[in-house]
Symmetry: C2
Subunit: 336 residues, 2 copies
């Protein structure tokens, strides 16, 4: 171990010729310090390279300033975009983000939340998976705020931010019908998360209202490769679909690539495609994909402001938020 010799408030106090409480006050916004001593302290701190020890401060204040971000598949376009927005907003709000990676293994999210508790995180934002009810209660009981994004859980306490997946899927049918499509398909993964399944259910329901059937194919874990596999299955059918709604842009990219390069299909002439997420690649001219935009900035803002404003001192009941997914028209559907 190295010479851990961080400079403490004590040393700053000595150099500035004041008491250590004066130093503390100088770094506490809204504390009662005369401007004169404040300046003395600040200068001494500057010279010594003093930085307030947030570990100790958190211990005292019962407020660490840490917000834990629990997420799997960080390297995925949509996830990383949301991550960027969240960290950004948190920083602006004076919080700091702690990133915990989860995998699909059992209890992975629970372990992440334990880590959050150990560091006395003021809040945890869960982007993937779903925690066990008991540990959720543990967090809540300890005054740790919880935000579930696109998790569609119904336990009370956490703030739950969701999209209007079901309704959005309905608008896809309208678009496809207007484009003259009649053989509809839905491309999904086997992840089976609530939002994914809501898109599927909404699509099927709306199609049925139009008197149309939907071919559903599911494969893998919502990635590009899965899209290729699904395309393989869908496009080799005797009754080849002329419109595919993909649960995810990543799936759509894989499907489009397979459709074009393996099946020599022209999009949107022979096949219309709509995705979901509006990842950056959706706007690349190789895809030019019509898709739903995840409102990442407003998701992040809602989450962060709720965390910071700590509105309910006694009863910390989060509410459920349903955000709107806007359809971004591009070239993968006829007659936009």
């Amino acid at each position: 171990m190295s010479q851990r010799d961080f400079v403490s408030a004590e040393e700053v106090a000595q150099r500035a010729g004041v008491s250590r409480s004066a130093v503390s006050r100088a770094f506490t916004p809204g504390a009662s310090v005369s401007e004169a001593t404040r300046q003395k302290v600040l200068r001494a701190a500057e010279e010594l390279g003093y930085q307030v020890n947030h570990l100790a401060r958190g211990l005292m204040r019962n407020e660490s300033g840490i917000v834990c971000l629990i997420v799997s598949d960080v390297a995925t376009p949509y996830r990383s975009a949301l991550l960027r927005e969240l960290t950004q907003q948190l920083q602006i709000a004076g919080k700091v983000a702690m990133l915990v990676n989860t995998d699909r293994s059992d209890g992975s999210v629970d372990r992440a939340l334990q880590q959050a508790i150990r560091y006395r995180a003021d809040a945890s934002i869960i982007l993937s998976g779903l925690p066990d009810k008991s540990i959720t209660q543990l967090c809540l009981r300890n005054g740790q705020r919880l935000v579930l994004i696109n998790r569609d859980d119904d336990q009370p306490g956490p703030l739950r931010i969701n999209l209007d997946d079901h309704e959005a899927a309905g608008r896809v049918v309208t678009a496809f019908v207007r484009a003259g499509c009649t053989r509809l398909a839905f491309a999904n993964s086997e992840a089976g998360t609530p939002s994914l399944m809501a898109r599927e259910a909404g699509f099927i329901a709306a199609a049925k209202a139009h008197g149309l059937d939907v071919i559903v194919e599911r494969h893998g874990w919502t990635g590009y490769e899965a899209g290729k596999v699904v395309a393989q299955r869908l496009l080799t059918r005797r009754e080849r679909p002329d419109a595919v709604f993909c649960a995810t842009d990543l799936l759509a990219c894989g499907l489009m690539d397979a459709a074009r390069h393996q099946f020599s299909l022209s999009i949107p002439d022979q096949l219309c495609v709509i995705g979901f997420d509006d990842i950056e690649q959706a706007s690349w001219s190789s895809y030019d994909l019509t898709t739903f935009a995840q409102p990442v900035v407003s998701i992040a803002r809602q989450a962060v402001t709720w965390l910071v404003d700590s509105p309910s001192p006694n009863r910390l009941d989060g509410h459920s938020l349903k955000l709107h997914a806007e359809l971004v028209w591009r070239g993968s559907v006829r007659g936009g």
Copy 2:
């Protein structure tokens, strides 16, 4: 503020019928506790939902377990892939990642490092920007380890992990020449980071050795759009290049899309392209891009093991590491 009422070691001790130090020891690997009391403590802790307070532990041990990741453009494919790998490895090593977003503004990295100091991070890993020398010294002086990835700085102290950019660029020329290309071009951004410039310099030098000139175009900040702009400039020249080395895969994607969809060029028949990073999209069949793989896993492993193994108790001189970037052959160059 809510009822912050985390359960403490004291309560666990009472319930288990032991002293509070026994509790502490039960949670300290390698402490001298009888298996009997350890079990008693663990059970009591389980029942109460006790989690060690890492804020307090960090205060005592002078070791927070926090590693600060300083990065801009988190949502970028290469960055997010590296981020995923780093967080993963850190977790395995028993550390936790603190994510600080930087922008291109002045002093952004310095502020991030201050945050790292405030939370007494055991180490900071810098993926973007370059800190001021004074603050670097401050970190080092405080025993905070520093890792610079692809920053190519020469100040002693931090561990510096770099790629063999210059040599790699040389191999590009070989590949292009073998493909029968004669009009070489280099697509770069205006970011001007050392690794980007090394690729440019290495390419030009190797080309000159073959008696070939290089057309260089730079624009924007290393993204897809910048690639499109550069393509515009490059492909409207009277002497149109027949081979382009792009400093980044993102640039390459933009350039390829422009080449194909705006200039109707066939790749690799009329234009050979090589990129750098091997982002996921490079393998998508719309691009099928020959490129250099960033050894993200070994970068992460090198960084993390160095941080954890704390090899030099007194003199914490990091060394410089030069990793190899392997060329991944795909279809964007003739005669792979």
